[in-house]
Symmetry: C2
Subunit: 182 residues, 2 copies
Amino acid sequence: MTLKPEILSVTSIAQSRLFHIERVDLRFSNGKEVQYERLQSDSPGSVLIVPVEGDELVLIREYAVGTERYELSFPKGNIDTGEEPQTAACRELQEEIGMASSNIRLLRRTIISPAYINRSIWIMLATDLTLDPLPGDEPEALEQLRWPINRMWELLEQEDFCDGINQLALYALGHEMKVLPY
Amino acid sequence: MTLKPEILSVTSIAQSRLFHIERVDLRFSNGKEVQYERLQSDSPGSVLIVPVEGDELVLIREYAVGTERYELSFPKGNIDTGEEPQTAACRELQEEIGMASSNIRLLRRTIISPAYINRSIWIMLATDLTLDPLPGDEPEALEQLRWPINRMWELLEQEDFCDGINQLALYALGHEMKVLPY
C-alpha cells in the first residue's frame, strides 16, 4: 500500500453562499509536489429517499438550475446540523411528498465525488407511508409522480431521470428487492 | 407540465483553476423570485471505464484529495476539448492501466448533480484489452488491482469503493451482463 501524500497547506481561495473552494498543497511519498483544488463542505451530507407505496415508487419533478430543466428525482435534501440521516429522510418525505414513513432503512451510503469533495449521501428505502405533510421551502409546489415497480428499469430510459445518484438508488433498490435486471 | 422558470441574470461570482461559481437569478412561473448558485463547467465532461479482462475487472487505487485517502476506482478522466468520449476512454485506459481496447461501448450516460452542475459522465465497458501504455499525468504510479467478476458485488462492501459513480458503473455492468444481484 502506498504511503499517503503529506498535506503541506490548505488555503481557502473563494467562498460563496453554497460553495467553498480550497487549494491544497501536498507532497506525494515519491517527493513530487502538486497543487489540488477541492470543495469544502460544512454540511453533514444529504439524503435521497426511495418511497415505496404498494406496487409503486413515488417520484417528484423539480427544477434543476445546473441543467436548466425539470428533472425526475426521488425526494432528497440536506441533513441539518445535528440531525440524524433517518430523521432528515422522514422530514424530507413530509416536506416533498407530504408523507411520513414509519419504516426507513439504509440502502447504500455513497460519496458523490471523492476527488473533489467529501460529502456523503445516504440512500434510504421508505415504506409504510402515511399522509402527514410538513411545509417545505421549495419556491413552487412539486409535481408528484407514481411509477410501477414492475416497470422500474424503464426509468433509466427517461431523459429527465439523468442524475447519477438517482440511477444508483434505483439499482440499489433492484439489488435489495432482487428485481431481475432484465 | 410546469412552465420553466425564467432566468433573469447569470453572474460569475468566483473562478479558480478548477471551479467557476455562478449566481443565477430566476423567476418561477408562479412569480416567486429566487437566487441559486451553480458550478459552471467548460469541460465536455468525463469518462469512467469498466475494463474487463477474462473473468476479472481491472481497477486502480488513486489518491482523492476530497476524502484525503486512497480510493478504489475504475479508470477515469476528463474528455479533452473536441475529443469523442470513446477516444477519451481508450486514451485514459492506456494512461491509467497501460492497456488499449478495441471494443469500447457505452453502458450509461449520467449527470453527477443536475441541481448544481451540468456535467456528463460517460460510463463505458471496455473489453479486448491489449498492452499499449501511454504516459499519464499522475504524480505517482497508480496501483492496479484485479477483481473477479463472480465476486463483483463484494466490491460494494469495500470501504474505499465509496464513489457513487463507480458504484453506479458496477450496477450498470451487472445489469448489462445480467449478473444476478445476489
